[in-house]
């Protein structure tokens, strides 16, 4: 947890009991008039500790520890991609935002004939959502009796995503780590029985290590994490061993609270959760505090909603995702093609633009600056009214690019029609359908009046 300016001051030379250090008090070498002034700047993160040449080692260690994130950032990596999780600062997204999306991993078993094919499908999966390409994060390879090293190699060949190696047998773990040479996989798991061997491997292969108990007991889990840490492993992931809804919700919440509110360093690591084939359980883990989530299988119909949910929960609540206002050309429109207006909220823009694009119909999509709000929200907030729309028509280039004077407005704001006709004399205002899905049919109808 961050220290206050006064707490920091107590650790600086000005407060030292050692005369050899104390004599530097207020020497200004840091660039500030006094040690206290420097402490204040440090607490506001407007100065660096290294600016003071005289800080004692013990104090330095304390200050550095206090500056470290309460939940350690852990990175797994492969040739093509990497994933960093942890370093969260709040319990509820409205308090600030969640920063590091949990990794979604799909499990394959070493004995599974199509392990490489599944890995490839997971690797290749990508779905567009509001202009972002959403993808899964990796493969969890389970040593279940087949040839583990061969399976890891096959998966590594078929996918360029990070790996989790699922085995509690140190010999298999080593074989897997060797096969994953060059990558940084997460090794799961050290248990009360095997931790010494697993910690050695993790340290040797520089892989993050998950520690697991089987009953959700936080003290046993911490005990294990401390042992592994003492054995030289710093990148630790916690697995309380729970696989259900209610106890995992409780324990994950307790761990997050301990790390953030109690500044309990011993639990300051990301968590790993196993959701089986349960979509809603995976959803719970996204919202409630997992860093890694392992799913038992892959299908596009499940991956898509989970990826969207993750994007939603990890959106910064302070700033809605927006697109640049402007006149967008869809499917190479000609001056005579239809002109439509929408808002610059990303979800709104892409709902409409995607619909038009996939229909193949050319058109001009004018995106008004509605401060990143949806059509009705912006309308209700007075950010998408006749005046603003008329101004957009005049300033965003529509009058230069389009050779007609007709404008299609979203069906939800049909009430704006009259006012808009007053704001844009000579223009014909057409009320489009309410939902973007119905826009292509509407455009076809306008083109070829029945």
């Amino acid at each position: 947890m961050a220290l206050s300016g006064l707490q920091i001051y107590k650790l600086l030379p000005g407060s030292s009991k050692n005369p050899a250090v104390k004599k530097h008090a207020n020497c200004k070498a840091c660039g500030f008039p006094t040690c206290l002034a420097f402490a204040m700047k440090l607490s506001q993160k407007q100065a660096e500790l290294t600016q003071c040449p005289y800080v004692e080692d013990e104090a330095k260690a304390k200050l550095e520890a206090s500056a470290a994130p309460p939940i350690r950032l852990i990175t797994v990596a492969a040739n093509g991609s990497k994933l960093a999780v942890g370093n969260e600062t709040v319990l509820f997204r409205h308090e600030k935002t969640f920063y590091h999306q949990p990794g979604l991993f799909v499990r394959v078993k070493a004995s599974q004939a199509d392990a490489a094919a599944v890995a490839k499908a997971v690797n290749d999966y990508s779905v567009e959502y509001v202009g972002m390409d959403l993808t899964l994060d990796g493969i969890a390879v389970e040593a279940d009796g087949g040839d583990f090293a061969a399976a890891v190699s096959a998966v590594k060949g078929a996918s360029s995503l990070p790996l989790v190696l699922l085995t509690e047998d140190p010999a298999l773990a080593e074989a897997g780590l060797k096969a994953a040479e060059g990558l940084t996989p997460l090794l799961w798991a050290a248990t009360p029985d095997n931790w010494e061997a697993m910690a050695k491997l993790a340290a040797r292969y520089k892989a993050p290590l998950a520690v697991r108990v089987d009953d959700g007991d936080i003290n046993r889990l911490v005990d294990l994490a401390e042992k592994v840490k003492a054995a030289g492993v710093e990148d630790i992931v916690l697995d309380p061993g729970l696989r259900d809804y209610v106890t995992s919700l409780a324990v994950f919440t307790q761990l997050r609270r301990l790390a953030l509110k109690k500044n309990e360093r011993r639990v300051g690591y990301p968590l790993i959760a196993f959701a089986g084939d349960d979509l809603a359980l995976a959803g719970q883990h996204i919202a409630k505090y997992a860093g890694f989530i392992v799913l038992d299988s892959f299908s596009p119909g499940t991956a898509y909603p989970l990826l969207v949910m993750r994007a939603n929960i990890f959106t910064d609540p302070q700033k809605p995702i927006q697109v640049q206002p402007g006149l967008y050309e869809i499917n190479h429109p000609q001056p005579g093609d239809p002109l439509m207006v929408t808002t610059n909220f990303s979800i709104t823009y892409f709902a409409v633009a995607n619909e038009l694009e996939s229909s193949g119909l050319p058109g001009w999509l004018m995106v008004a600056d509605a401060e990143g709000m949806s059509v009705l929200t912006a309308w209700a907030a007075g950010k998408f009214d006749a005046e603003r729309i008329a101004k957009s028509v005049k300033t965003l280039g529509a009058t230069e690019k389009v050779n007609h004077q007709s404008l299609i407005i979203p069906g939800h704001v049909a009430v704006l029609m009259g006012e808009l006709e007053e704001e844009l004399p000579g223009w014909k205002i057409m009320v489009g359908p309410r939902e973007a899905v119905d826009l292509p049919a509407f455009l076809k109808m306008v083109r070829q009046p029945a």
Binding site: F92, R93, H94, Y125, S126, V127, E128, Y129, I218, N219, V222, D223, E226, D244, Y245, V246, T247, L249, A250, T253, Q254, R257, L258, K261, K262, E264, R266, V267, L279, A280, L281, G283, Q284, A287, K288, S299, P300, G301, T302, A303, Y304, P305, L306, V308, M309, N312, I313, T315, P317, I347, A351, E355, S358, S374, T377, A380, E435, A436, V437
Partner: protein, 317 residues
């Protein structure tokens, strides 16, 4: 090394308990009643407080075959959509604990028509009932008061009250002993304000369900999610005007999305249509249950099963 002590929040507030429906003993004809609310903890954190009642699932039915519902839904309900009484029975069989009867705009929508349909639905099912008007202020007012009268004694809920349109509906609830659903646009202060306005008219808070509004997954769900978390935190911290059970309509929102409605011309990455649609509703609803929903209004029978299983698991402590 000192053992770690599990931190527990000490909350001072409690969500009010609200009961829907009335059995013969209370002057109604419902086979059972449903009580929700009463929480003294954030959702499902049983280690630090009580959740005396499980969140419940309501199924939404329409007064006439819906014109704009996804074919996936129409397929699931089959012929039942032809008749609201049949539909109510099918919904009960599918696991509903409450029926939400939602009137649509139609040429024959009138006080008589609405009363007739409400009586038929009450006769067809023993479950508690919530009635939503078509969502246009004048029409809602025109039918909801007669509906309140027709359902006298049944302790139904009328919806939805919004800041611009709550007086007539609340008056109807007061006159005929019913409850109301108060809906505001994803804002803690707006929700409080509407609850104050309604209770100022004399309706006790124990007869109000609040609907903070939800968006579908991918269409603004996270705003509703966070507002619900904030409302529940405020309730537990002792803010009386937020201590009402929450009802949300993830079914309606999720099935309005393109993901749930469109089966053709969509990217392969979207996967199987039926699976995707159900997943869309399930994940929207499940997320809201975890942020404090006491009633989720759903549309697809399979989502009902999945959310029911999820709630059971979360109540199993």
């Amino acid at each position: 090394m000192p053992a770690i002590e599990i931190p527990k929040e000490k909350w001072s507030g409690q969500v009010k308990e609200v009961t829907l429906g009335a059995t013969a003993a209370d002057g109604g004809t419902r086979v059972k009643t449903v009580t929700i609310g009463g929480e003294t903890t954030l959702p499902f954190l049983h280690f630090e407080g009580q959740m005396p009642h499980r969140p419940v699932i309501a199924i939404e039915i329409m007064d006439r075959p819906p014109a704009d519902w996804s074919p996936v839904l129409l397929e699931a309900w089959g012929d039942a959509v032809q008749n609201p009484a049949d539909w109510a029975k099918a919904a009960e069989a599918a696991g509903a604990e409450i029926i939400v009867l939602h009137f649509s705009l139609g040429p024959d929508l009138s006080a008589d028509y609405a009363q007739k349909i409400v009586r038929a639905v009450l006769a067809a099912t023993g479950l508690p009932l919530i009635v939503f008007g078509p969502g246009q202020a004048d029409l809602d007012n025109e039918i909801l008061v007669p509906v309140a009268e027709a359902a006298k004694g049944e302790n139904i809920a009328l919806g939805v009250c919004e800041d611009k349109n709550y007086r007539t509906i609340v008056a109807g609830a007061l006159a005929h002993g019913q409850l109301v659903v108060a809906r505001t646009a994803m804002d803690v202060n707006l929700a409080k304000q509407l609850n104050i306005l309604i209770s100022d008219m004399g309706l006790p808070l124990e007869r109000i369900l609040m609907d903070p509004t939800t968006g579908a997954l991918g269409y603004g769900m996270e705003y509703g999610y966070s507002v619900m978390e904030r409302l529940r935190l405020a309730a537990l911290q002792g803010d009386g005007m937020t201590q009402l059970p929450m009802i949300v309509t993830p079914g309606e929102e999720a099935w309005r999305t393109k993901e749930a409605r469109a089966g053709e011309g969509i990217p392969a990455a979207w996967g199987d249509w039926v699976e995707r649609g159900i997943n869309w509703e399930t994940l929207t609803a499940g997320t809201l249950v975890e942020s404090g929903a006491d009633v989720v209004v759903l549309r697809h029978p399979e989502s009902v099963k999945r959310i029911d299983a999820m709630i059971n698991a979360l109540m199993n402590n």
